[in-house]
Protein backbone atom coordinates (compact mmCIF):
# COMPACT_ATOMS: atom_id res chain seq x y z
CA UNK A 1 0.00 0.00 0.00
CA UNK A 2 2.61 2.50 1.11
CA UNK A 3 4.92 1.08 -1.55
CA UNK A 4 2.32 2.09 -4.12
CA UNK A 5 2.09 5.57 -2.65
CA UNK A 6 5.86 5.81 -3.01
CA UNK A 7 5.77 4.66 -6.62
CA UNK A 8 2.96 7.02 -7.51
CA UNK A 9 4.75 9.93 -5.79
CA UNK A 10 7.94 9.13 -7.68
CA UNK A 11 6.06 8.95 -10.98
CA UNK A 12 4.23 12.22 -10.31
CA UNK A 13 7.44 14.02 -9.34
CA UNK A 14 9.45 12.73 -12.26
CA UNK A 15 6.70 13.83 -14.65
CA UNK A 16 6.51 17.26 -13.00
CA UNK A 17 10.24 17.78 -13.33
CA UNK A 18 10.24 16.53 -16.92
CA UNK A 19 7.44 19.00 -17.62
CA UNK A 20 9.49 21.84 -16.14
CA UNK A 21 12.54 20.75 -18.12
CA UNK A 22 10.56 20.90 -21.33
CA UNK A 23 8.28 23.86 -20.67
CA UNK A 24 9.87 26.14 -18.03
CA UNK A 25 10.64 29.73 -18.98
CA UNK A 26 14.36 30.26 -19.16
CA UNK A 27 17.23 27.91 -19.81
CA UNK A 28 18.74 27.78 -16.33
CA UNK A 29 15.51 26.64 -14.59
CA UNK A 30 15.15 23.97 -17.26
CA UNK A 31 18.71 22.74 -16.71
CA UNK A 32 18.35 22.63 -12.91
CA UNK A 33 15.04 20.77 -13.32
CA UNK A 34 16.82 18.27 -15.52
CA UNK A 35 19.56 17.71 -12.90
CA UNK A 36 16.93 17.04 -10.21
CA UNK A 37 15.06 14.85 -12.71
CA UNK A 38 18.18 12.69 -13.09
CA UNK A 39 18.29 12.10 -9.33
CA UNK A 40 14.64 10.98 -9.35
CA UNK A 41 15.34 8.62 -12.23
CA UNK A 42 17.95 6.82 -10.11
CA UNK A 43 15.30 6.32 -7.44
CA UNK A 44 12.93 4.83 -10.02
CA UNK A 45 15.68 2.52 -11.29
CA UNK A 46 16.17 1.29 -7.73
CA UNK A 47 12.45 0.57 -7.55
CA UNK A 48 12.76 -1.45 -10.77
CA UNK A 49 15.57 -3.49 -9.16
CA UNK A 50 18.00 -2.20 -11.76
CA UNK A 51 20.70 -1.14 -9.31
CA UNK A 52 23.43 -1.20 -11.96
CA UNK A 53 21.40 1.23 -14.04
CA UNK A 54 20.65 3.39 -10.99
CA UNK A 55 24.37 3.56 -10.30
CA UNK A 56 25.09 4.57 -13.91
CA UNK A 57 22.38 7.21 -13.81
CA UNK A 58 23.67 8.52 -10.46
CA UNK A 59 27.30 8.59 -11.56
CA UNK A 60 26.70 10.14 -14.98
CA UNK A 61 23.58 12.18 -14.27
CA UNK A 62 24.81 13.45 -10.90
CA UNK A 63 28.34 14.28 -11.98
CA UNK A 64 29.31 14.91 -15.56
CA UNK A 65 25.89 15.72 -17.09
CA UNK A 66 25.14 18.45 -14.54
CA UNK A 67 28.51 20.10 -15.08
CA UNK A 68 28.16 19.86 -18.87
CA UNK A 69 24.67 21.36 -19.00
CA UNK A 70 25.18 24.10 -16.41
CA UNK A 71 28.39 25.10 -18.19
CA UNK A 72 26.52 25.13 -21.50
CA UNK A 73 23.64 27.19 -20.09
CA UNK A 74 26.16 29.74 -18.87
CA UNK A 75 28.09 29.88 -22.15
CA UNK A 76 24.84 30.19 -24.10
CA UNK A 77 23.42 32.85 -21.82
CA UNK A 78 22.43 35.03 -24.74
CA UNK A 79 21.71 32.19 -27.07
CA UNK A 80 18.08 33.14 -27.60
CA UNK A 81 19.72 34.88 -30.55
CA UNK A 82 20.26 31.44 -32.00
CA UNK A 83 16.56 30.70 -31.92
CA UNK A 84 15.70 32.37 -35.19
CA UNK A 85 12.71 30.20 -35.81
CA UNK A 86 9.37 31.83 -35.37
CA UNK A 87 7.15 30.69 -32.54
CA UNK A 88 4.74 28.11 -33.84
CA UNK A 89 1.18 29.16 -34.43
CA UNK A 90 -1.42 27.75 -32.03
CA UNK A 91 -3.11 25.36 -34.52
CA UNK A 92 0.27 23.83 -35.33
CA UNK A 93 1.12 23.60 -31.63
CA UNK A 94 -2.11 21.74 -30.99
CA UNK A 95 -1.44 19.39 -33.88
CA UNK A 96 2.03 18.64 -32.48
CA UNK A 97 0.59 18.16 -28.99
CA UNK A 98 -1.95 15.73 -30.45
CA UNK A 99 0.84 13.83 -32.17
CA UNK A 100 2.76 13.57 -28.90
CA UNK A 101 -0.32 12.46 -26.97
CA UNK A 102 -0.90 9.85 -29.63
CA UNK A 103 2.71 8.63 -29.23
CA UNK A 104 2.22 8.40 -25.47
CA UNK A 105 -1.07 6.54 -25.84
CA UNK A 106 0.45 4.09 -28.29
CA UNK A 107 3.36 3.40 -25.94
CA UNK A 108 0.98 3.10 -22.97
CA UNK A 109 -1.10 0.62 -24.94
CA UNK A 110 2.04 -1.42 -25.56
CA UNK A 111 2.99 -1.27 -21.87
CA UNK A 112 -0.47 -2.47 -20.83
CA UNK A 113 -0.58 -5.28 -23.37
CA UNK A 114 2.85 -6.76 -22.74
CA UNK A 115 2.64 -10.56 -22.72
CA UNK A 116 2.39 -12.33 -19.40
CA UNK A 117 4.57 -14.20 -18.54
CA UNK A 118 7.06 -11.94 -20.19
CA UNK A 119 9.65 -13.40 -22.55
CA UNK A 120 13.00 -13.22 -20.83
CA UNK A 121 16.63 -13.96 -21.42
CA UNK A 122 17.37 -14.10 -17.68
CA UNK A 123 17.61 -17.94 -17.51
CA UNK A 124 20.06 -18.02 -20.43
CA UNK A 125 22.06 -15.19 -18.90
CA UNK A 126 22.26 -16.88 -15.51
CA UNK A 127 22.81 -20.38 -16.89
CA UNK A 128 26.26 -19.90 -18.34
CA UNK A 129 27.45 -17.26 -15.93
CA UNK A 130 29.74 -19.72 -14.14
CA UNK A 131 31.82 -20.03 -17.33
CA UNK A 132 32.68 -16.33 -17.14
CA UNK A 133 33.63 -16.45 -13.47
CA UNK A 134 31.35 -13.45 -12.83
CA UNK A 135 28.55 -13.14 -10.31
CA UNK A 136 26.76 -10.08 -11.68
CA UNK A 137 24.65 -11.04 -14.71
CA UNK A 138 24.53 -7.44 -15.98
CA UNK A 139 28.33 -7.28 -16.12
CA UNK A 140 28.34 -10.70 -17.78
CA UNK A 141 25.95 -9.43 -20.49
CA UNK A 142 27.97 -6.26 -21.00
CA UNK A 143 31.38 -7.81 -21.18
CA UNK A 144 30.79 -11.40 -22.34
CA UNK A 145 27.45 -12.12 -24.07
CA UNK A 146 27.12 -8.76 -25.76
CA UNK A 147 30.78 -7.80 -25.73
CA UNK A 148 30.59 -6.59 -29.32
CA UNK A 149 28.07 -3.89 -28.34
CA UNK A 150 30.19 -2.75 -25.46
CA UNK A 151 33.31 -2.58 -27.58
CA UNK A 152 31.53 -0.54 -30.25
CA UNK A 153 30.17 1.72 -27.55
CA UNK A 154 33.74 2.41 -26.42
CA UNK A 155 34.51 3.29 -30.02
CA UNK A 156 31.50 5.63 -30.08
CA UNK A 157 32.88 7.43 -27.03
CA UNK A 158 36.25 7.91 -28.71
CA UNK A 159 34.50 9.12 -31.87
CA UNK A 160 32.49 11.59 -29.81
CA UNK A 161 35.73 12.98 -28.38
CA UNK A 162 37.15 13.24 -31.90
CA UNK A 163 33.97 15.02 -32.95
CA UNK A 164 34.21 17.50 -30.08
CA UNK A 165 37.89 18.16 -30.72
CA UNK A 166 37.31 18.66 -34.41
CA UNK A 167 35.31 21.77 -33.55
CA UNK A 168 38.53 23.50 -32.46
CA UNK A 169 39.86 26.46 -34.39
CA UNK A 170 43.03 25.62 -36.29
CA UNK A 171 45.31 27.73 -34.15
CA UNK A 172 44.19 25.94 -30.96
CA UNK A 173 44.63 22.40 -32.25
CA UNK A 174 46.59 20.39 -29.72
CA UNK A 175 45.93 22.99 -27.01
CA UNK A 176 43.92 22.84 -23.81
CA UNK A 177 40.14 22.97 -23.49
CA UNK A 178 38.15 25.25 -21.22
CA UNK A 179 38.28 24.21 -17.60
CA UNK A 180 34.90 25.47 -16.36
CA UNK A 181 36.52 27.31 -13.51
CA UNK A 182 36.08 30.59 -11.78
CA UNK A 183 38.42 33.42 -12.73
CA UNK A 184 39.47 33.84 -9.14
CA UNK A 185 39.42 30.61 -7.21
CA UNK A 186 37.46 29.84 -4.09
CA UNK A 187 39.53 28.65 -1.12
CA UNK A 188 36.71 26.40 0.04
CA UNK A 189 36.55 24.71 -3.32
CA UNK A 190 40.31 24.08 -3.26
CA UNK A 191 39.96 22.41 0.14
CA UNK A 192 36.99 20.38 -1.08
CA UNK A 193 38.87 19.21 -4.16
CA UNK A 194 41.82 18.18 -2.01
CA UNK A 195 39.66 16.24 0.42
CA UNK A 196 37.14 14.56 -1.88
CA UNK A 197 39.23 12.80 -4.58
CA UNK A 198 41.03 10.31 -2.28
CA UNK A 199 37.65 9.03 -1.10
CA UNK A 200 36.12 9.34 -4.55
CA UNK A 201 38.93 7.39 -6.20
CA UNK A 202 38.61 4.69 -3.54
CA UNK A 203 34.83 4.49 -4.07
CA UNK A 204 35.25 4.56 -7.87
CA UNK A 205 37.73 1.68 -7.78
CA UNK A 206 35.50 -0.21 -5.36
CA UNK A 207 32.47 0.17 -7.60
CA UNK A 208 34.51 -0.99 -10.58
CA UNK A 209 35.94 -3.95 -8.64
CA UNK A 210 32.73 -5.26 -7.07
CA UNK A 211 31.06 -4.96 -10.48
CA UNK A 212 32.14 -8.53 -11.18
CA UNK A 213 29.78 -9.89 -8.53
CA UNK A 214 27.53 -7.07 -7.31
CA UNK A 215 25.99 -3.97 -8.89
CA UNK A 216 28.77 -1.82 -10.31
CA UNK A 217 31.28 -2.08 -13.10
CA UNK A 218 33.57 -0.25 -15.48
CA UNK A 219 31.09 2.43 -16.58
CA UNK A 220 29.99 3.39 -13.11
CA UNK A 221 33.45 3.29 -11.57
CA UNK A 222 34.92 5.12 -14.55
CA UNK A 223 32.27 7.85 -14.37
CA UNK A 224 33.07 8.45 -10.70
CA UNK A 225 36.81 8.60 -11.40
CA UNK A 226 36.03 11.03 -14.23
CA UNK A 227 34.07 13.22 -11.83
CA UNK A 228 37.02 13.28 -9.42
CA UNK A 229 39.35 14.39 -12.16
CA UNK A 230 36.87 17.09 -13.11
CA UNK A 231 36.59 18.49 -9.59
CA UNK A 232 40.39 18.74 -9.43
CA UNK A 233 40.42 20.70 -12.68
CA UNK A 234 37.43 22.85 -11.68
CA UNK A 235 39.11 23.79 -8.41
CA UNK A 236 42.25 24.93 -10.25
CA UNK A 237 44.40 22.26 -8.62
CA UNK A 238 45.43 20.98 -12.05
CA UNK A 239 45.17 22.33 -15.56
CA UNK A 240 42.94 20.73 -18.15
CA UNK A 241 45.18 18.42 -20.19
CA UNK A 242 46.33 19.41 -23.66
CA UNK A 243 44.50 17.34 -26.26
CA UNK A 244 47.73 16.74 -28.11
CA UNK A 245 49.38 14.99 -25.18
CA UNK A 246 50.53 11.46 -25.87
CA UNK A 247 49.39 10.02 -22.54
CA UNK A 248 46.01 11.69 -22.93
CA UNK A 249 45.48 9.99 -26.27
CA UNK A 250 46.78 6.65 -25.06
CA UNK A 251 44.36 6.78 -22.12
CA UNK A 252 41.43 7.61 -24.42
CA UNK A 253 42.13 4.82 -26.86
CA UNK A 254 43.34 2.17 -24.40
CA UNK A 255 39.86 0.78 -23.65
CA UNK A 256 38.74 0.00 -27.21
CA UNK A 257 42.24 -1.09 -28.28
CA UNK A 258 42.70 -3.55 -25.41
CA UNK A 259 39.15 -4.81 -25.93
CA UNK A 260 39.79 -5.33 -29.62
CA UNK A 261 43.14 -6.98 -28.86
CA UNK A 262 41.52 -9.44 -26.47
CA UNK A 263 38.80 -10.05 -29.05
CA UNK A 264 41.39 -10.94 -31.68
CA UNK A 265 43.21 -13.09 -29.13
CA UNK A 266 39.92 -14.93 -28.63
CA UNK A 267 39.70 -15.40 -32.39
CA UNK A 268 43.17 -16.95 -32.48
CA UNK A 269 42.67 -19.09 -29.38
CA UNK A 270 39.11 -20.32 -29.86
CA UNK A 271 38.08 -19.31 -33.39
CA UNK A 272 35.51 -16.93 -31.94
CA UNK A 273 35.91 -13.15 -32.07
CA UNK A 274 35.65 -11.74 -28.52
CA UNK A 275 35.42 -15.28 -27.11
CA UNK A 276 37.34 -15.78 -23.91
CA UNK A 277 39.40 -19.02 -23.73
CA UNK A 278 37.94 -21.38 -21.12
CA UNK A 279 39.52 -20.90 -17.71
CA UNK A 280 40.97 -17.49 -18.60
CA UNK A 281 37.64 -15.68 -18.84
CA UNK A 282 37.71 -13.89 -15.50
CA UNK A 283 41.31 -12.59 -15.63
CA UNK A 284 40.81 -11.44 -19.22
CA UNK A 285 37.54 -9.71 -18.34
CA UNK A 286 39.14 -7.90 -15.43
CA UNK A 287 42.07 -6.94 -17.67
CA UNK A 288 39.75 -5.46 -20.31
CA UNK A 289 37.65 -3.71 -17.67
CA UNK A 290 40.66 -2.02 -16.09
CA UNK A 291 41.47 -0.32 -19.37
CA UNK A 292 37.81 0.45 -20.06
CA UNK A 293 37.53 2.16 -16.69
CA UNK A 294 40.66 4.16 -17.42
CA UNK A 295 39.35 5.17 -20.84
CA UNK A 296 35.98 6.24 -19.48
CA UNK A 297 37.65 8.23 -16.72
CA UNK A 298 39.66 10.05 -19.41
CA UNK A 299 36.87 10.37 -21.99
CA UNK A 300 34.03 11.86 -19.97
CA UNK A 301 35.96 14.93 -18.70
CA UNK A 302 37.23 15.61 -22.22
CA UNK A 303 33.66 15.48 -23.52
CA UNK A 304 32.55 17.95 -20.84
CA UNK A 305 35.51 20.27 -21.38
CA UNK A 306 34.76 20.67 -25.08
CA UNK A 307 37.14 21.66 -27.86
CA UNK A 308 40.48 23.32 -27.04
CA UNK A 309 40.33 27.10 -26.66
CA UNK A 310 43.96 27.86 -25.93
CA UNK A 311 46.97 27.28 -28.15
CA UNK A 312 49.37 24.51 -27.14
CA UNK A 313 52.46 25.55 -25.24
CA UNK A 314 55.46 25.49 -27.57
Amino acid sequence: MIVQTLDISLAALVLTLAGWTVLAHGTFPAVVSYVAYGLLLSLIWVRLFAVDVALTEAAIGGGVTGVLLIGAASKLRNAALLATERELTPPLRWAIAALCVFTTLALARVVLSLPDPSPTLAPEAVQDIAATGLGNPVTAVLIAYRAFDTMLEKCVLVLAVVGVWSLASDQYWGGTPSALRAVTGYGTLTFFAQLLPPFGILIGIRIFWVGADEPGGAFQGGAILAAMWMIIIMARLADAPAIGGRWMRIALAAGPIVFLGVGILGFIATWGFLAYPAGFAKPLIIFVEIFMTLSIAATLPMLVAGPPIRAPRP
Binding site: M1, V32, L39, L43, V67, R181, R206, V210, M234
Partner: protein, 92 residues
Protein backbone atom coordinates in the same frame (compact mmCIF):
# COMPACT_ATOMS: atom_id res chain seq x y z
CA UNK B 1 8.95 -1.10 10.53
CA UNK B 2 8.97 -1.43 6.74
CA UNK B 3 5.83 0.65 6.45
CA UNK B 4 7.27 3.29 8.74
CA UNK B 5 10.45 3.52 6.64
CA UNK B 6 8.47 3.83 3.42
CA UNK B 7 6.16 6.43 4.94
CA UNK B 8 9.20 8.44 6.07
CA UNK B 9 10.64 8.10 2.55
CA UNK B 10 7.44 9.44 0.97
CA UNK B 11 7.28 12.27 3.52
CA UNK B 12 10.88 13.38 2.95
CA UNK B 13 10.58 13.04 -0.82
CA UNK B 14 7.49 15.22 -0.90
CA UNK B 15 8.87 17.74 1.57
CA UNK B 16 12.01 18.41 -0.42
CA UNK B 17 10.07 18.29 -3.69
CA UNK B 18 7.93 21.22 -2.52
CA UNK B 19 11.17 23.19 -2.18
CA UNK B 20 11.70 22.63 -5.89
CA UNK B 21 9.23 25.38 -6.77
CA UNK B 22 12.23 27.64 -6.11
CA UNK B 23 13.59 26.27 -9.39
CA UNK B 24 10.68 27.82 -11.23
CA UNK B 25 10.27 31.01 -9.23
CA UNK B 26 13.88 31.71 -8.21
CA UNK B 27 14.09 34.67 -7.82
CA UNK B 28 17.81 34.31 -8.53
CA UNK B 29 19.81 31.42 -9.92
CA UNK B 30 21.48 30.81 -6.54
CA UNK B 31 18.02 29.93 -5.14
CA UNK B 32 17.53 27.43 -7.94
CA UNK B 33 20.88 25.81 -7.22
CA UNK B 34 19.97 25.66 -3.51
CA UNK B 35 16.67 23.94 -4.25
CA UNK B 36 18.51 21.32 -6.30
CA UNK B 37 21.02 20.88 -3.46
CA UNK B 38 18.30 20.33 -0.85
CA UNK B 39 16.58 17.94 -3.21
CA UNK B 40 19.86 16.04 -3.51
CA UNK B 41 20.16 15.52 0.24
CA UNK B 42 16.48 14.60 0.53
CA UNK B 43 16.78 12.23 -2.42
CA UNK B 44 19.71 10.47 -0.76
CA UNK B 45 17.72 10.14 2.48
CA UNK B 46 14.77 8.74 0.50
CA UNK B 47 17.04 6.31 -1.29
CA UNK B 48 18.54 5.03 1.97
CA UNK B 49 15.09 4.58 3.51
CA UNK B 50 13.71 2.79 0.44
CA UNK B 51 16.81 0.59 0.27
CA UNK B 52 16.43 -0.37 3.91
CA UNK B 53 12.70 -1.03 3.52
CA UNK B 54 12.78 -3.06 0.31
CA UNK B 55 16.09 -4.80 1.06
CA UNK B 56 17.21 -4.15 -2.52
CA UNK B 57 20.86 -5.24 -2.56
CA UNK B 58 23.67 -2.87 -3.50
CA UNK B 59 21.68 0.35 -3.11
CA UNK B 60 24.10 1.80 -0.52
CA UNK B 61 26.61 2.11 -3.34
CA UNK B 62 24.13 4.19 -5.34
CA UNK B 63 23.65 6.45 -2.32
CA UNK B 64 27.42 6.66 -1.93
CA UNK B 65 27.80 7.66 -5.57
CA UNK B 66 25.10 10.33 -5.24
CA UNK B 67 26.64 11.64 -2.02
CA UNK B 68 30.06 11.81 -3.61
CA UNK B 69 28.71 13.89 -6.49
CA UNK B 70 26.18 15.91 -4.47
CA UNK B 71 28.18 19.13 -4.74
CA UNK B 72 28.98 18.95 -8.45
CA UNK B 73 26.03 20.81 -9.91
CA UNK B 74 26.40 23.64 -7.39
CA UNK B 75 30.16 23.84 -7.94
CA UNK B 76 29.58 24.04 -11.70
CA UNK B 77 26.97 26.74 -11.08
CA UNK B 78 29.26 28.87 -8.91
CA UNK B 79 32.13 28.50 -11.38
CA UNK B 80 29.88 29.31 -14.32
CA UNK B 81 28.77 32.62 -12.77
CA UNK B 82 32.34 33.73 -12.31
CA UNK B 83 33.39 32.70 -15.83
CA UNK B 84 30.36 34.38 -17.36
CA UNK B 85 31.14 37.59 -15.46
CA UNK B 86 34.68 37.46 -16.72
CA UNK B 87 33.70 36.83 -20.31
CA UNK B 88 31.25 39.68 -20.09
CA UNK B 89 33.89 42.10 -18.88
CA UNK B 90 36.57 41.07 -21.33
CA UNK B 91 34.09 41.07 -24.18
CA UNK B 92 32.95 44.65 -23.68
Amino acid sequence: MTDFLLAAAVFILFTVAIGLVRILYGPCDADRAMAAQLFGSGGIATLLLVASATRAPGVEDVAMGLALLAAFASVAFVNSIATAEHDGRSGE
